[in-house]
């Protein structure tokens, strides 16, 4: 019916007008920082990271990131739980051409390496655990597309996922034991490692450690989601 569509459009325009009205009091491009300025001023001394976004993600707002990793974990668990069938197998019929299969076999290690590079250098360059992990997952996705029988080793992936998650929480708990705060950056603040080489790889306390864990975890989780979605239940 036209009536209903018109009504929906009217509602939406009303909401839009209202949000725009509010946004006109939040000027674009103006300096609105309060806590943000504090981060920019203190990020190098307090965390040793050059990339302030990384420091905010892993250090200052580490709780959010823990939650975020958990959300992705829930998604992969939920997808696996809901698509659980007695027997599951892949149903692709045509194998990729020789160029495709050879090419992807050749490319695979390099994509994984690139993903690893992204998350290990998260405190220096843009990127970090999430895009790095997604890149690794893309490598597995490519294998799924190129080969009709390829499957990831789920058991191993599931356990890696769990262990990586436990690793993250354990790093946090070590912080609780050493520095008496959960998710305390004990490598940087208690041990003081890497203060002399800010801007190089071995610095920034536990940021590279955590980003490596996150990268592995995100990679395995996204590949797990792809795996669950590709395989169909047998009759």
């Amino acid at each position: 019916m036209v009536m209903k569509r018109a009504l929906a459009i009217l509602t939406i325009l009303l909401i839009g007008y209202w949000i725009a009205l509010a946004l006109s009091h939040v000027p674009f491009g103006a300096d609105k920082m309060l806590v943000g300025q504090y981060y920019l001023n203190h990020v190098k001394a307090q965390t040793g990271a050059v990339n302030a976004v990384t420091a905010v993600v892993v250090n200052y707002r580490g709780f959010d990131t823990l939650g975020e990793v958990t959300v992705l974990f829930i998604a992969s668990t939920g997808v696996a739980a809901l698509l659980w069938r007695k027997k599951r197998k892949r149903t692709a019929k045509t194998e990729g051409s020789v160029v495709l299969t050879t090419g992807s076999r050749l490319l695979f290690p390099f994509i994984v390496l690139f993903g690893g590079y992204i998350f290990i250098h998260g405190h220096l360059t843009p990127g970090g655990g999430f895009p790095g992990g997604a890149t690794i997952a893309t490598a597995f996705l490519m294998l799924y597309l190129a080969f009709s029988v390829y499957e990831i080793p789920h058991k191993g992936f599931e356990i890696t996922e769990g262990l990586a998650g436990m690793g993250y929480v354990t790093v946090g708990l070590i912080g609780l034991a050493i520095g008496s705060y959960f998710l305390f950056d004990w490598i940087w603040q208690s041990w003081g490692w890497g203060h002399s080489n800010i801007g190089r790889l071995f610095s920034a306390g536990f940021i590279p450690v955590i980003y490596t864990i996150i990268g592995i975890k995100v990679g395995t989780e996204l590949s797990g989601i792809v795996d669950s979605m590709v395989k169909e239940g047998g009759e």
């Binding site: 929906a8 839009g16 920082m33 806590v35 302030a52 975020e68 959300v71 698509l83 801007g199």
Partner: protein
Amino acid sequence: MSIGVYYFGAVSLILIGLYAVLVKKNLLKILVGLSIMETGVNLLLISIGYIAGRSAPILSEGVGPNNAVDPIPQALVLTAIVIGVATTALALTVAINLYETYKTLNIEELRRLRG
């Protein structure tokens, strides 16, 4: 009342997504709408954190604390993107299960089949 082009783009995306969710009948289309809405919200957050004439908050050569943009919205959006893709994956899984039970993705037919 004037809003910048980024705000305009972000709000438009939110509204287009909302329109798809409210009006469309196909479940996957609804999920596409939700996904577009999330992109719009992310763009809105980043544009709120932008400060005219400043560069990215990576404090290497030439970028000091006083000429970098706000890092917090960027950290928030990183979180929000991952949460969005998690929701989408789960939603699609539920849609697949629905399709396997009822052989349709049309929400009207779903209602009819359930009675």
